[in-house]
């Protein structure tokens, strides 16, 4: 085979690889992500009209969406929507719930401790680790800002 540099091959690969349909993907993400947020707002208004306090209503919305995501993941519906919606189902809190529930289902066959217990955080784990770390840093900055 004639000499073909890695750089030339990389350019060829880019040339022949179809790009993502960015416009269509954005529309899907906007529509589905927006619909999930709208559902959250409808739930919040409902909780408020039931006499719940503002903070508590927000918390109830989050837990309701998480429960809904977990149930639809278990029923095998969530990933079917996600394969079109992309970031629309990934970014809201429902995406996080899906990332925890899906490995828990997948690795159930490896036992409750070594399977479900350890592998349910295989995708969401880094989000928790760096989320907690970032909040610590934010807390320290906040503490010093308020001191002076």
């Amino acid at each position: 085979m004639k000499h073909l540099s890695k750089k030339e091959y990389s350019e060829l690969t880019q040339k022949f690889s179809p790009p993502s349909k960015v416009g269509r993907n954005c529309l899907w993400a906007f529509a589905v992500g927006g619909a999930i947020c709208l559902l959250g707002e409808i739930l919040r208004q409902n909780f408020l009209s039931m006499g719940m306090e503002k903070d508590l209503a927000g918390l109830a919305v989050s837990t309701s969406l998480i429960a809904l995501s977990a149930i639809t993941t278990a029923l095998g519906w969530y990933h079917r929507l996600a394969c079109h919606a992309g970031a629309g189902t990934l970014v809201p809190i429902t995406g996080f719930a899906n990332a925890v529930v899906s490995p828990a289902i997948e690795f159930k066959c490896e036992g409750m401790v070594t399977g479900v217990g350890s592998k349910m955080f295989v995708i969401a784990g880094p989000v928790i680790v760096y989320g907690v770390l970032a909040s610590e840093v934010y807390g320290i900055i906040w503490y010093f800002m308020n001191r002076f």
């Binding site: 073909l4 060829l12 022949f16 995708i123």
Partner: protein, 341 residues
């Protein structure tokens, strides 16, 4: 031994015969254009098993049972089984073979396993070391997703260059002589790595290895592509196929009769498989289900079959290593002597 090695290619003076073939597939494969080609199709990809790994082993078991039934053989007449799959440590094959009392050689060539197995089986048969050798390969979408990618229920969008792991198994019975189709030559591949790190673009990772093997075969044999009814690659998909043709053209070889099993096995327009099928079962299913029956009937006279493999693991991928590719080629004809073609 009745064969000679020229360059990288082994040519058989007494070409071994593929005395039988069987292919089994899953749900999506049954919904594709090759639904009529499989001996057995399963509506439920679990095959009634509690884990996907067991499902793949069952797929292999059904496949080898079909082969034995079609060739009217029993397992105790088989000298060796050469089998491979995509699971860690080739467990789908090993767990299938624990239920069959036969000498077993596990092969790992990633998605190139079918032609690797057929090549080695042909060498064993032509060398007079075996009277009946079975070569088998399988892959299962769910087992592969779980091992190489994300859990099945995880909501993610597939990239346009991704390929869909085929749920299928193919098994072939190779004998030193018989009624054919016949394995005329084998070119075992060399590992090629062009620094592709994108695990969702396997076709690009494997295309240089495919080009290398095919160029070496034509150099060694002195034939030209027009002398074949079809030159089939395993699972390069749409992107890898374009890259292969481009590299070959740069090397002065123009392929007008190239087909890729990954684009044959599914309806790319309607089955949402992005760039096509992949996995050991892709070339195994197409070879055993479509190409060999057509060679047997004389509809095809002479083909080149080249399964392609991406030799990375999840560990090397996470460590940022690039993906090495490999491709093994076999020349198969419907008649024993090439002069008769």
């Amino acid at each position: 031994m009745d064969c000679c090695k020229k360059g990288d290619t082994l040519f058989f003076k007494q070409p071994p015969s593929i005395a039988g073939f069987a292919a089994v597939g899953g749900k999506k494969e049954g919904e594709g254009p090759l639904r009529e080609c499989f001996d057995l199709l399963f509506e439920d990809n679990s095959l009634g098993e509690p884990t996907w790994e067991k499902s793949e082993s069952s797929l292999q078991r059904y496949c080898i049972e079909q082969l034995m039934k079609k060739t009217q053989c029993t397992m105790n007449q088989i000298d060796y089984v050469l089998a491979g799959d995509l699971q860690n440590q080739c467990t789908a094959s090993a767990y299938t073979l624990r239920g069959l009392d036969v000498q077993f050689l596990g092969l790992y060539g990633a998605c190139s396993t079918m032609t690797e197995g057929l090549g080695v089986a042909s060498v064993l048969a032509a060398g007079g070391m075996a009277k009946r050798v079975v070569a088998m390969a399988s892959s299962h979408f769910c087992a592969a997703e779980r091992q190489f990618r994300t859990p099945l229920e995880y909501g993610g969008k597939r990239t346009p260059t991704a390929q869909w792991t085929v749920t299928a198994a193919g098994a072939l019975l190779v004998e030193p002589e018989g009624a054919g189709p016949f394995v005329q030559a084998v070119t075992f591949g060399r590992v090629r790595d062009f620094q592709v790190t994108d695990a969702t673009n396997m076709g690009a990772a494997m295309a240089p290895a495919a080009a290398e093997t095919i160029l070496r075969y034509f150099q060694d044999s002195g034939y030209n592509p027009e002398q074949f009814d079809g030159i089939y690659t395993g699972d390069l998909g749409e992107v890898g196929s374009k890259l292969l043709l481009e590299i070959l053209e740069q090397n002065g070889l123009c392929l007008k009769n190239h087909f890729d099993c990954g684009t044959i096995i599914y309806d790319l327009e309607n089955q949402e498989v992005q760039c096509g099928g992949s996995g050991c079962g892709c070339s195994a299913g197409v070879l055993a289900g479509k190409l060999l029956p057509e060679l047997k009937k004389g509809k095809l006279r002479r083909i080149l079959m080249m399964s392609t493999g991406a030799l990375m693991s999840q560990t090397t991928a996470l460590q940022g290593e690039s993906i090495p590719g490999i491709a093994h080629l076999v020349e198969i004809s419907s008649v024993p002597k090439e002069e008769q073609l």
